[in-house]
């Protein structure tokens, strides 16, 4: 298919990335494709990541898993390439390629020698609108995603519990559905479902191109205009207006039993705000809160209290992903020592949360966390793919280059009072899910 439609010429503005140290350039093509170039000239390699602003939380009802299924099918034929040819061509250059799907985005990436960028940009542009699916490819690949679900979810009690927790946490929002899909819906996903989702969402005005490595931004601009410029923007792309959560009024509790569990644990999730354009302060404070609670396996609040000062737990953790489209969760985990019940582990967790809300945390711990976050910006520059990931993810959830540039300083500027304020706002029973994972027949 010829795409020589004369669009997308010479668009875009350059934007310096503020305080961040990595050299970054950003511009838009006329067809709406946003392009980010991150320079790293230390090795003659380049990473291409193409991010679509669509993920599993944007799927039609009853079609859970279609975003991820389509991601698999994108490695099949296009009108210019045979099935499998994309990956063959990357391999033939010594490169690697893969893709991933999340709630909020779908991304395709390759890593090759820097002088092969032209090839991978041409191929990635080709499959944005030229996908051709045979029924055979669809039927076989559906078996592959069912095996993937077998391997990653159904063989893992912890992964199954995560699904049950998300379903309980979100009363209305599609974050309650698994990215890979519910098995009974995956089994029914068809070629037509995949193509409909593809046509509705895969277009230059719904994508972000990140190129990171040993490249010149002007050369990237020329290549982007050559390969992606001719693609037509789509009217089908709609703003992401997903069902939102009603007020959550009741704490939810789950007990899951599975014969395959050897180490029982308790996990708690709280609904938590996310980074929003021009409004990232609460999310920054939540990042610090998660670090204070469980960022270090030795010195964080939970580790010190439950693994050092008392011998309640063998493992504790806290985690929070700030980079999402809609509010997601802050999560806390306590795996008790043998002989300590889940009820006692949960009580110890609650006691620590109460203590934190009452007396706060030490300034020394806070200073260490900030030193590590500051260093993270230095260490991150060692890995062009990680930087590409950071930019692509943020832009794909609707943040701007200015938000990305401001983020490191926002993290440094968070005060202890702000962490306490966000802790009081987020650690609310009525927006929480508490789950116990234990072996079958274990006493409660």
């Amino acid at each position: 298919m010829l795409r020589n439609l004369g669009l997308g010429l010479l668009a875009g503005v350059c934007l310096a990335a503020g305080v961040r140290a990595e050299p970054v350039t950003s511009f838009d093509l006329n067809n709406g494709l946003q392009v980010v170039v991150i320079e790293d000239h230390r090795a003659p390699a380049v990473v291409q990541m193409l991010w679509y602003r669509v993920g599993s939380a944007d799927e039609p009802p009853g079609k859970s898993g279609i975003a991820h299924f389509l991601e698999h099918l994108m490695f099949k034929a296009t009108d210019d390439m045979a099935s499998g040819e994309f990956s063959d061509a990357v391999s033939a250059q010594g490169g690697r390629d893969n893709a991933f799907t999340s709630y909020d985005y779908t991304a395709y990436h390759q890593r090759v020698a820097a002088d092969r960028l032209d090839l991978i940009m041409r191929m990635e542009a080709d499959r944005m609108q030229g996908l051709v699916l045979s029924e055979d490819d669809v039927v076989t690949e559906r078996q592959v995603i069912l095996e993937e679900r077998n391997q990653r979810t159904d063989s893992s009690p912890g992964a199954l519990l995560n699904e049950q927790m998300a379903a309980a946490q979100f009363l209305n929002h599609p974050y309650g559905l698994p990215v890979i899909g519910w098995r009974h819906e995956m089994e029914g996903l068809s070629r037509e479902d995949a193509l409909a989702f593809y046509r509705a969402n895969y277009a230059p005005n719904n994508a972000i191109l990140v190129i990171a490595g040993d490249v010149d931004p002007e050369e990237v601009r020329t290549l982007a205009e050559t390969h992606y410029g001719p693609l037509l923007p789509s009217d089908a792309v709609k703003p992401r207006l997903r069902p939102q959560e009603p007020p959550q009024l009741a704490a939810r509790r789950i007990v899951m039993e599975d014969a395959r569990v050897s180490e029982p644990y308790v996990i708690r999730s709280y609904l938590a705000v996310e980074r929003n354009p021009g409004d990232q302060k609460q999310a920054a404070a939540l990042v610090l809160l998660a670090q204070v609670l469980g960022g270090s396996s030795t010195t964080s609040v939970l580790a010190r209290a439950l693994q050092f000062e008392s011998q309640v737990a063998v493992y504790t953790s806290a985690f929070y992903n700030p980079t999402t489209v809609d509010p997601d969760t802050l999560n806390l985990v306590v795996m008790p020592q043998p002989g300590v019940s889940l009820a006692d582990a949960e009580a110890a967790l609650d006691a620590q949360l109460a203590r934190l809300l009452d007396t706060g945390f030490t300034p020394e711990e806070f200073a260490r966390i900030k030193a590590q976050l500051r260093a993270q910006d230095i260490y991150a520059r060692d890995d062009a793919q990680q930087l590409a990931q950071e930019y692509g993810e943020a832009l794909a959830v609707g943040l701007t280059m200015e938000d990305i540039a401001a983020w490191p300083a926002l993290l440094q500027d968070v005060t202890a009072d702000e962490v306490m304020a966000v802790a009081r706002a987020v650690l609310q029973d009525r927006t929480s899910v508490t789950a116990w994972l234990q072996a079958e027949g274990a006493t409660r």
Binding site: D88, G95, V144, N150, R260, T298, R304, Q311, D383
Partner: protein, 435 residues
């Protein structure tokens, strides 16, 4: 400061803008390190390996080296575990201590702005670990948690079975993590003995990359490592692969079975090693286009992923593979693997497959040297298998030199379908143990 600094400039066979320049640095105390200087980012990575690893465990003390390694950071010098972690995190230094059947590894990243303090802390961990009683109990509890989880984990069960059946009484025949009984019985004295045996200067390999000069590295090598004992525990002898074909099934409830399979391999020094690397890439490279991935996943949808690897260890070598399949499909998937094994042994590969594999292997090689941490790790690995520091410049030529005739001959010699040994962990339908 007297120091020998030999600089070898190595131009890789690729577009010339970035080249990897490996310097060898020898400290006054006689410790040699490889270095790639790169002053773009204000941090450096250092990678240290001690040959021997968990295979040095004394009889009856299985898991001692693993537990010792996990304890190195849990208190050192005048700092207890809390104090050490606070000091490390305050400097934003990152230390990783790990053990495998062939080595104990130490990977550190530290900022230029506080390098001396970070390395003083690392030196303290390496040379003055405390092994406090409360730390031993706490970390032992974590190791035991992992061991209990392994008893219900398909991959862990398969690995242990593969090791036991293939290597018997050699240390390779058991997990370096030990057993619940052996780890429960370990004393502080056992851990101290493991420490003295495993971390010694007669088995040390060092590489660094990033914002550090050869002169600075030379000085710090002695500071960092000079306090270690000169000699450590004797290395184990050769391990001979014992399995000659067959199937072993272990029951584990779940929707899928984990399948691992093995046969003999080749040592790195073998003249046919690179032909074998190419053959492995064509058959079981874990990417689209490899034969097993095409036949088992792409054409039949029997698995999410399948791959094989040529593992050349210090005391043995084997060719191993793994995949997971639904219990109803394992038998078919195993049949496909067997058929592909027989086919490549009988027919070798095509000229086109050889060309593609060579292009991939030579094209991907320079892309590995990416980032300070990655470079330090690759360089120390090369030293451990006895390679010269100009190896990166010659490696692709060794791949290119392999002919179609070579790979056909080596395929017939290497792949022995009758000796293929399968471990299947799950509840597979139509697969039974052959004994």
């Amino acid at each position: 400061m007297m120091m020998r600094i030999a600089a070898l400039l190595i131009a890789l066979a690729l577009p010339a803008r970035a080249e990897i320049a490996i310097q060898t640095v020898t400290s006054p105390g006689g410790i040699t390190a490889w270095l790639v200087e790169s002053h773009d980012i204000p941090f450096a990575a250092i990678d240290i390996r001690f040959r021997g690893g968990t295979s040095l465990d004394a009889p009856g003390k299985r898991g001692a080296v693993n537990l010792m390694t996990a304890l190195i950071e849990e208190g050192a010098g005048d700092l207890d575990a809390q104090g050490f972690a606070a000091a490390r995190d305050g400097l934003a230094a990152q230390f990783r201590f790990d053990s495998s059947r062939d080595d104990v590894s130490v990977s550190a990243r530290f900022l230029t702005e506080n390098r001396d303090q970070a390395l003083a802390l690392l030196r303290s961990a390496l040379t003055e670990p405390r092994f406090d009683a409360d730390a031993v109990d706490r970390v032992r509890g974590q190791v035991l948690t992992g061991l209990r989880a392994d008893e219900k984990d398909g991959e862990a069960i398969a690995e242990r079975l593969m090791a036991a059946r293939n290597f018997g009484d050699h240390p390779y025949g058991t997990s370096g993590d030990g057993t619940i009984d052996s780890v429960t019985a370990l004393t502080r004295d056992d851990i101290l003995s493991a420490y003295k045996g495993a971390l010694a200067r007669d088995r040390i390999y060092v590489a660094a990359a990033g914002d550090i000069t050869a002169a600075e590295l030379g000085t710090l090598l002695d500071d960092l490592l000079g306090g270690l004992p000169a000699t450590g525990a004797p290395l184990p002898g050769r391990a001979n692969l014992q399995e000659k074909g067959g199937v072993v099934v272990a029951d584990l409830p779940g929707p899928q079975s984990v399948v691992q399979f093995s046969q003999k391999g080749l040592p790195f020094e073998h003249p046919d090693y690179f032909a074998a690397v190419i053959l492995n890439e064509i058959l079981g490279g874990g990417r689209f286009g490899a034969r097993l991935m095409t036949e088992v996943r792409e054409k039949r949808g029997l698995t999410y992923g399948i791959g094989t690897g040529l593992a050349s260890l210090d005391h043995a070598e084997w060719l191993v593979g793994q995949f997971e399949s639904a219990n109803t499909k394992v038998a078919e998937a195993i049949a496909v693997v067997r058929a592909e094994w027989a086919k490549i042994a009988a027919e070798g590969v095509t000229a086109d497959e050889l060309d593609k594999a060579k292009t991939f292997l030579t094209g991907s090689y320079p892309l590995r040297f990416d980032g300070n941490g990655q470079i330090a790790s690759l360089l120390v690995g090369m030293q451990m298998i006895g390679l010269p520091s100009d190896y990166p410049a010659t490696r692709n030529a060794r791949i290119e030199a392999v002919t179609l005739e070579d790979v056909r001959r080596v395929a017939a010699e290497l792949f022995t379908p009758d000796d293929l040994f399968f471990v299947v962990v799950g509840q597979p339908e139509g697969v039974v143990s052959t004994e």
